[in-house]
């Protein structure tokens, strides 16, 4: 069957082509940063936030949930890697994938909360992330290092961890790209827009939701594990900080939830702004972050990409 002649199909190909070239450009630039002597630390965190925001997009943008305890996956991933590496001597090649596994297991434990919707889901998710933090701080000190946290004690390899982060970011973006084009992605969007109608059309709502939830949990927990390796230290207070969730949500929302490109654009722009302006005013930083959130919700609730698409619907042909 020849469907390429349909304008629909041509537009889809154009969109994908454009997105692939943006992606290829981004990856080439990032891969060259350590070789050309750019700032590894800045780009490491840039990739981390792109991954977090895109992962968040899977559950929030495609599915319509607002997990305000998203940081739980990140923190559990960080602690899994730290405990395995430090206390059990597991090599990093295993302890970082283990972080991802731990995140997916945690998402299965949290799966019953998917029955809740709207604000209930957000509040329960927040409460669960706090329970995770309390559980870890209350574990025996020999395991989690108590309030001092864990020193990984592994050799710090910024360049190596940089490339691992790059691989995870690419994996995350490929997953989201695949999702946007796949049956699963369509099913998710259908559920977001009207769960009952989707069910009537034969979508297995609980199962499809669970897949998205597990995918959305995998990437932040990998981020947590890699960040633990990169900074070589993990403590419960900062690994479960609500600000991590907040920044993830802001970056994703600022770009535009529900589009593949949105969270990437949002994270790149805002991490840059953060580096250029806010870091110079440490005391004002928190205030400006808060102000940014308020202004964002007030004036750009759909984000940069979402807002552009609304103002110029023709752009839809070019944006995945």
């Amino acid at each position: 069957m020849e469907s390429a002649s349909l304008p629909e199909e041509r537009a889809r190909r154009l969109r994908n082509l454009l997105w692939w070239s943006v992606l290829a450009g981004l990856v080439t630039w990032l891969a060259a940063v350590p070789l050309l002597g750019g700032s590894i630390s800045f780009c490491f965190f840039l990739m981390l936030w792109v991954t977090m925001a895109s992962g968040f997009n899977i559950i929030s943008g495609f599915t319509g949930y607002m997990p305000f305890g998203y940081v739980a996956f990140y923190g559990v991933g960080a602690f899994t890697t730290a405990i395995l590496t430090r206390k059990l001597g597991v090599p990093l090649a295993l302890s970082i994938p283990a972080a991802g596994l731990a995140g997916v297991i945690l998402s299965l434990l949290f799966a019953p909360t998917l029955k809740l919707s709207g604000i209930y889901f957000a509040i329960v998710s927040l409460a669960l992330s706090i329970i995770c933090r309390l559980a870890i701080t209350n574990m025996p000190e020999a395991w989690t290092g108590g309030s001092y946290g864990i020193q990984l004690g592994a050799r710090s390899e910024p360049v190596k961890s940089f490339y691992v982060m790059l691989v995870v970011m690419v994996a995350c973006l490929l997953t989201v790209t695949w999702l946007a084009n796949s049956r699963l992605g369509k099913a998710l969007r259908a559920i977001r827009d009207d769960a009952d109608a989707a069910e009537a059309m034969g979508v297995n709502v609980p199962r499809v939701r669970l897949y998205a939830w597990m995918l959305a949990a995998l990437f932040p927990s990998l981020c947590g594990g890699i960040e633990a390796w990169y900074t070589n230290v993990v403590d419960a207070e900062s690994a479960f900080n609500v600000l991590i969730t907040a920044k993830t949500i802001i970056y994703a929302t600022a770009g535009g939830l529900g589009t593949v490109m949105g969270p990437v654009v949002g994270a790149v722009v805002l991490v840059w702004v953060d580096e250029l302006i806010w870091q110079r005013f440490p005391l004002l930083n928190l205030f400006l972050l808060g102000l940014a959130i308020v202004l964002l919700i007030q004036f750009m609730p759909r984000g940069i990409v979402g807002g552009l698409l609304r103002a110029y619907p023709r752009l839809r042909r070019f944006v995945l």
């Binding site: 607002m66 305000f68 019953p112 809740l116 709207g118 604000i119 209930y120 957000a122 509040i123 329960v124 927040l126 409460a127 669960l128 706090i130 329970i131 309390l134 559980a135 701080t137 209350n138 609500v242 907040a246 949500i249 929302t253 005391l283 004002l284 928190l286 205030f287 972050l289 808060g290 102000l291 940014a292 959130i293 308020v294 964002l296 919700i297 007030q298 004036f299 609730p301 759909r302």
Partner: protein
């Protein structure tokens, strides 16, 4: 020995629970009327505590007297915030979730302002009552806590009177039940909503002054703790249900304080969160659902 500890925990549970109840109550007024989940509520409560702190340091004012001043000051802040933030928010696709995120931004700003004004140190108000503590059965309870409980009860009584006996209060309850219908009967929804916003934050500010008497130490970073407790209580008691919040608050306070008798101190908050999650799965509408208000 256990009976002594239990009695102590029960009395403190009621005092602390009444504070939680007040926090939940104001949070529910806001959610009920405006469908705004106020993530910044704890910051306003702590702001009220700081206001009482300043009034005491500058003018030697008793924290009990600061409560009404806190109410008026934060009422104005709340009404102003309504006109500043709500009109645009109402046009958003999903106002409820958007408000949640936006108020988180307000919370960060509030914490940052307090941080700039008061620095990160923990503060407390040195006001002492005479006598310092009162003996109830075999337990000594600090007088400040009992006074806070008394003022708390007065505020709850006044709120109940306002909600059930005055026209404005009845309009407010009607707005919780059906926002559209009350416009038909000629209520100015904008003014009512601004009033509800002011009332909620005013109550938070007054709660803050009492808070300084119940939990002597507060810092610019204590806000989120109280916000979370407020969330637990309104979900327990039923979203948008002021009376439910009172029952939920006292229940939560007593359970939390009794839990500290049997569990290590740091574990006590976990009990609270577990109750929340259990409550949501067993009865998502909260203890009172929507029916009791009618």
């Amino acid at each position: 020995m256990y009976s002594f500890l239990l009695l102590n925990a029960l009395i403190n549970g009621v005092v602390v629970g009444a504070m939680y109840a007040l926090i939940g109550c104001s949070l529910n007024v806001l959610y009920g009327v405006l469908r705004v989940v106020n993530f910044a509520h704890g910051e306003f409560v702590v702001g009220g505590a700081f206001l009482a702190f300043v009034l005491f340091e500058q003018f030697g004012l008793n924290p009990v007297a600061s409560a009404p001043i806190g109410f008026v000051a934060f009422f104005i802040v709340g009404a102003a915030l309504y006109y500043l933030l709500m009109p645009r928010l109402a046009k958003s696709d999903d106002p409820e979730t958007a408000s949640f995120l936006m108020m988180y931004g307000v919370a960060l700003m509030g914490a940052a302002i307090m941080l700039m004004l008061f620095e990160a140190d923990t503060r407390s108000i040195d006001y002492s009552f005479d006598p310092v503590s009162v003996k109830i059965a075999s337990v000594y309870v600090p007088t400040s806590r009992l006074v806070a409980l008394a003022v708390n009860l007065v505020i709850v009584a006044a709120l109940a009177w306002f909600l059930y006996r005055t026209l404005a209060g009845k309009a407010l309850r009607a707005a919780i039940m059906n926002r559209e219908a009350i416009q038909i009967v000629g209520v100015n929804l904008h003014r009512l909503s601004a009033g509800a916003f002011g009332l909620a934050l005013g109550l938070a500010g007054a709660t803050g002054a009492l808070l300084a008497m119940v939990f002597p130490a507060f810092s610019p970073f204590s806000g989120p703790d109280y916000t979370l407790i407020g969330f637990i209580i309104i979900v327990l008691g039923g979203l948008g249900h002021p009376v439910g919040a009172i029952v939920g608050g006292v229940l939560f306070g007593v359970v939390e304080q009794v839990a500290t008798v049997f569990l290590p101190q740091a574990m006590a908050p976990m009990v609270g969160f577990s109750i929340l999650i259990l409550a949501i799965f067993l009865k998502p509408t909260g203890l009172f659902g929507r029916v009791a208000l009618r």
